[in-house]
């Protein structure tokens, strides 16, 4: 099996490289394709609406020599004519592509690519594939805020049930902290600010509707055919969508994952993160089971919106896999904001009492009086009823699709990206995988997604941002590491009087001086860490960090002004770890 996979891959790469030569002749065509890539991405985020800015452009008379000009923004006519020419071209390309591959008869398939699931990875792969000239269709379940076997929606988890609504709720809930802070800065409220749940839900849902519409448009503008319905694989080149059959040269599975709730007595009373993002009314008192990022994010959301929050975790600490110091720090900061942690408690049953309130029975006892019990106990890939077993797509015991480094499954014409492969379950990673796949399949550039130094964030309150290795991982991999740390009260907190602190940490390889990891917990961490992620990914050294001048006064500047190691960890001859502790130099 393995051998077969390898050889087919070889011939496939060969056929791609053959096509490359052919392509060079048509370079001008790809230029116009690229214009549409840009234009469609602009409809999502980039709109220069201001008349003032437009006039500024004119005033500056910035020369815009290439077709990739920002003038396109103001000229919808150019856009439509370009996308028209694109449509014509990708048709001819599809034919040409097919004729290139001697093994397959020309025009045999309905589509070059059929994608099942229009979430982050699927939309990205489809759009890019179309922009590279492929004919693409994508199928997706009908829209609903809460996912099921029969509901989903264009945009996927990120847009409808994950990153976006979560962040909107984080914004909403963070205001209560800001009201508190503002008092220290001289602001006074005649009446205590009160939160109206229904306003938030209505505005949040309107935004989700808008975004799902934008995603549909993005697909449409890229020339991708969107089919609503449940896709199922019939054979390596055929997909069934609610009874209708489509053939495709390549099939991409990007159906994502869904919250998983363990079967315990009373689990029917439990809500998952899908439901938690769309509750009809504010929970009065909620039990959240789980110690991962979803649990902590919802704890912060509900706490900020004045719900009484209890978090039950099986282990001693939250956020397994994160840097140990960050784990301790974030738990302490969260507790200070009024959330109660119940550690080393495993849920055993949920009991509904006569007054309608819920009790959570754990190995340690029973906690009563909850209006809601939420489980944030993991997510599982959506691989049931996809027809995978029949075509022989291999899966792990968790139900995740097994793929190689190019996101190819055990069936050569079937590929998978995103959460359904359970590699690194983050939107930007799915985007990277989708982008890489489109390049591999339709741009003659076999591209492996690069999993090194992927930054990530937890939107707890305060949030966490991190990139690279934790201290523990670094010690395991490199032995000798230097740890630089800053744990301080930010300027804002000295005025507000709140107990907010910030923890920042650099993990540096003692031998090479390379920054192996960077961790932060405190306001703005995710925004601060992104830029540093570029530096860490580029393999920059501590000396490079030190050579950078700070921006004053910011929290971020601490990362470039850490002069003295907090501790130096050295492997002793016996293989034991020795830690030499030094005092920091102070302010």
């Amino acid at each position: 099996m393995l051998y077969a996979l390898g050889s087919s891959q070889f011939s496939w790469v060969l056929s791609l490289s053959l096509r490359k030569k052919e392509r060079k002749k048509h370079k001008h065509k790809y230029k116009s394709v690229m214009v549409v890539v840009m234009a469609s991405s602009l409809t999502v985020t980039n709109t220069l609406s201001s008349p003032k800015l437009k006039t500024l452009y004119k005033k500056l008379s910035i020369p815009i020599p290439t077709p990739l000009s920002s003038r396109l923004l103001y000229n919808p006519k150019t856009l439509s004519s370009l996308s028209l020419s694109l449509n014509l071209k990708h048709r001819s390309f599809a034919a040409r592509a097919d004729s290139q591959n001697g093994a397959e008869p020309p025009s045999h398939y309905d589509f070059d690519l059929f994608t099942i699931g229009a979430g982050s990875g699927g939309v990205r792969a489809s759009r890019f594939a179309a922009n590279f000239g492929a004919s693409v269709a994508v199928c997706e379940l009908p829209f609903s805020p809460i996912s099921s076997e029969t509901t989903g929606g264009v945009g996927g988890t990120c847009v409808l049930r994950g990153c976006v609504p979560k962040k909107l709720m984080v914004y909403a809930s963070h205001y209560s902290h800001e009201f508190e802070e503002s008092r220290g800065f001289g602001w006074k409220y005649d009446v205590e600010p009160k939160h109206d749940w229904s306003t938030l839900m209505a505005n949040k849902n309107a935004e989700l509707q808008r975004l799902t519409g934008i995603y549909k448009n993005v697909l449409k503008n890229a020339g991708v055919t969107l089919i609503e319905g449940r896709g199922k694989i019939v054979d390596p080149h055929t997909i069934d969508v609610d009874g209708k059959l489509y053939s495709a040269r390549h099939i991409l599975i990007s159906v994502g994952g869904r919250p998983f709730i363990p079967e315990i007595p009373g689990s029917e009373y439990v809500i998952d993160s899908d439901a938690a993002l769309d509750l009809p009314s504010k929970p009065e008192k909620i039990a959240i089971v789980g110690g991962g990022y979803i649990a902590l994010e919802f704890a912060g959301i509900f706490n900020g919106l004045t719900t009484e929050v209890h978090v039950f975790i099986r282990q001693k600490k939250v956020l397994r896999g994160f840097d140990e110091e960050i784990r301790d720090f974030v738990a302490e900061q969260i507790s200070l904001r009024g959330i109660e942690f119940h550690t080393e408690e495993s849920p055993q049953a949920i009991i509904k009492s006569s007054d309608g309130s819920l009790s959570l029975k754990t190995n340690k006892g029973t906690a009563e009086g909850f209006s809601h019990v939420m489980f944030a106990t993991g997510r599982r890939p959506n691989t049931k009823n996809l027809g995978l077993e029949t075509v022989g797509v291999k899966m792990t015991k968790n139900g995740a699709i097994e793929v190689d480094e190019y996101s190819r499954t055990s069936v050569p014409s079937i590929w998978a990206v995103g959460d359904v492969t359970d590699r690194v379950n983050l939107t930007p990673v799915a985007l990277m995988e989708g982008g890489a796949l489109a390049k591999t399949l339709f741009q003659n550039e076999p591209t492996k997604p690069d999993y090194r130094a992927i930054p990530s964030a937890v939107f707890s309150q305060p949030p966490i941002g991190q990139v690279g290795l934790t201290e523990e991982q670094a010690i395991r991999e490199y032995g000798d590491v230097d740890i630089f740390m800053a744990n301080f009260r930010p300027l804002k907190a000295t005025l507000s009087g709140l107990p907010d602190r910030v923890l920042m940490k650099l993990v540096v390889c003692a031998k090479t001086n390379k920054v192996l990891g960077l961790h932060m917990c405190g306001e703005d961490s995710p925004e601060i860490v992104q830029g540093f992620a570029v530096a860490v990914k580029a393999g920059l050294t501590k000396a490079d960090f030190d050579a950078t001048v700070g921006i004053h006064p910011t929290a971020g500047e601490e990362f470039v002004t850490m002069r003295t190691p907090t501790r130096k960890i050295r492997q002793t001859a016996e293989g034991k770890t020795d830690s030499e502790v030094k005092a920091t130099a102070g302010v």
Partner: protein
């Protein structure tokens, strides 16, 4: 060469000669640069003395305070007021997120002023302790240079102390200046603006630099009617033109009245307030008129002429790349040298000075790719070259990547304010020459980007970095399509 020998000579010299001096180093001015240089020199084993004027929020010829401009009259109190002012926008934004906030919200300026003063007094104490812990001897009084190796400190009671020192460091910083128009005495500078007894109802600000823009945002956030006058078409000369346009638009949309291409010609005291007359003949009445028209180095009373320390026409002390003046034993760092007037730059200069003179490692401060921020609301931050600078300096083509978007928070709050980000890339080398951003958290976001730019990261390295979703910052690593390519030949001239 001669300089190098001198430095090397000092490092290798035996200690006997140093016995002639009271101090190895005497520093005049305990601001960011002076405190850093003193502490680090002391850490290297030098015997260090430092003098500073007595503390007060508002500086003068005879008033200063340990901590200097940054801590007492600059970065720190300014940022505190920016925090305070930002809450107005936050409270407005909260409504569409479901928060019912009463229409009437009070802002108590006196409370914030009091807490701000408390905080800078606390920091002043911390700085004093830092010096003390490092073994630096602090003198309160006005320092003057008497000879190449001699300083005189006039103490509060008028008594004079005289000390000899092997090296003298001038780090007296700078002070706000006012243009000489009729009635200028009715105006205030940023010093007073940070410590006003009463919050004005109507403020007029003259100036287009970062101080003017920051105070416009601060007062606007506190509910003051603000009219901002500046000479150019756009504020913030020196920054990327597109960023300047966005800042101007944001100030305007937050309710600040902008008066571009305008100057003030006269201030007249009236019963109703200060009558402000513009060069267009326009008249308006204000409670406070802030002149944010520049700062000049504090060199007048240092007696520099006596030893012949050269200053330029603005009064800034002239120094070489090692911060040494034309007198070999006298050095200068920070705003008094008017190189790049930023706290972290003064810190860098102070550190390099200590390393060079007492650490045995000659070390030039590197002023390239220094990131900076303007704490307008929302803020602006930049590192490296602006688009205009890149085009000016480029040998080949310049690629410009921009992203203008509605921040996620605004989708619900309804605030009409776009965030803009820009990367300027050398088309030949793929190096990112500059990054700039105007929008919430810009200074925090740019700091990490600055590490990458400083180290010559390429656009490909930016692209290979995975985004943090959902953040604003991720836009910097997801700019796939070039917005425009400016060819080497075309160099647009602007005079905004």
């Amino acid at each position: 060469m001669a300089r190098k020998m001198l430095i090397d000579g000092e490092v290798s010299q035996p200690n006997e000669e140093e016995a002639h001096y009271d101090f190895d180093l005497f520093v005049i001015g305990a601001g960011s640069g002076g405190v850093r240089a003193s502490r680090f020199s002391a850490t290297y084993g030098a015997k260090v003395g430092i003098c500073e004027l007595p503390f007060h929020p508002i500086s003068s010829e005879v008033i200063g305070g340990v901590g200097g401009t940054c801590v007492i009259r600059g970065c720190v109190p300014k940022k505190i007021l920016v925090y305070g002012a930002s809450f107005r926008g936050e409270i407005e934004d909260a409504r569409n997120y479901g928060w019912e906030v009463s229409e009437k919200i009070d802002f108590n300026w006196k409370k914030l002023l009091h807490k701000k003063t408390e905080e800078i007094v606390r920091l002043n104490g911390i700085y004093k302790r830092l010096l003390n812990n490092a073994g630096v001897k602090l003198y309160e009084g006005e320092g003057k240079i008497v000879g190449p190796n001699e300083v005189e400190v006039t103490q509060l009671d008028g008594t004079k102390l005289s000390y000899t020192a092997k090296h003298i460091l001038i780090s007296t910083g700078s002070r706000a200046t006012r243009p000489a128009i009729p009635g200028q005495e009715l105006s205030i500078t940023s010093d007073e603006a940070l410590s006003l007894e009463e919050l004005p109802k109507r403020a007029v600000i003259l100036g287009g630099g970062y101080i003017a823009v920051e105070f416009a945002s601060i007062w606007n956030g506190m509910g003051v009617t603000v009219d901002l006058f500046f000479r150019k078409e756009l504020p913030l000369r020196g920054f990327d033109d597109e960023m300047r346009a966005v800042v101007a638009r944001n100030l305007e949309s937050r309710g600040i009245n902008l008066h571009p291409r305008a100057n003030l010609s006269e201030l007249i005291k009236t019963e109703d307030g200060i009558k402000v007359i513009t060069d267009h003949g326009e008249e308006l009445i204000a409670d406070v008129v802030l002149f944010a028209t520049g700062r000049s180095p504090n060199t007048k009373r240092l007696n520099l002429e006596a030893v012949g320390v050269e200053v330029d026409q603005t009064g800034a002390v002239k120094v070489d790349e090692y911060s040494r003046t034309n007198i070999p034993s006298i050095w200068a760092v920070g705003d008094v040298t008017n190189r790049m007037n930023l706290t972290p730059v003064a810190l860098m200069e102070g550190t390099c000075f200590a390393k060079t003179v007492f650490g045995g490692q000659p070390c030039k401060p590197d002023h390239k790719d220094v990131a900076c921020a303007v704490f307008s609301i929302p803020p602006l931050s930049a590192v490296g070259l602006s688009e205009e600078q890149a085009i000016e300096e480029a040998h080949g083509d310049v690629l410009v990547f921009t992203s203008t978007f509605n921040p996620m928070k605004n989708t619900i709050s309804g605030r009409q304010e776009k965030t803009i980000m820009k990367l300027v890339v050398d088309a030949d080398t793929d190096k990112v020459l500059g990054a700039s951003m105007c929008g919430p958290d810009a200074p925090e976001i740019i700091q990490g980007i600055a590490v990458a730019v400083k180290c010559g990261a390429t656009k490909a390295q930016f692209d290979s970095t995975v985004g943090i979703h959902p953040s604003a910052a991720e836009e910097f690593v997801t700019m796939r399509s070039v917005t425009r390519r400016v060819s080497a030949g075309s160099k647009p001239k602007t005079n905004l």
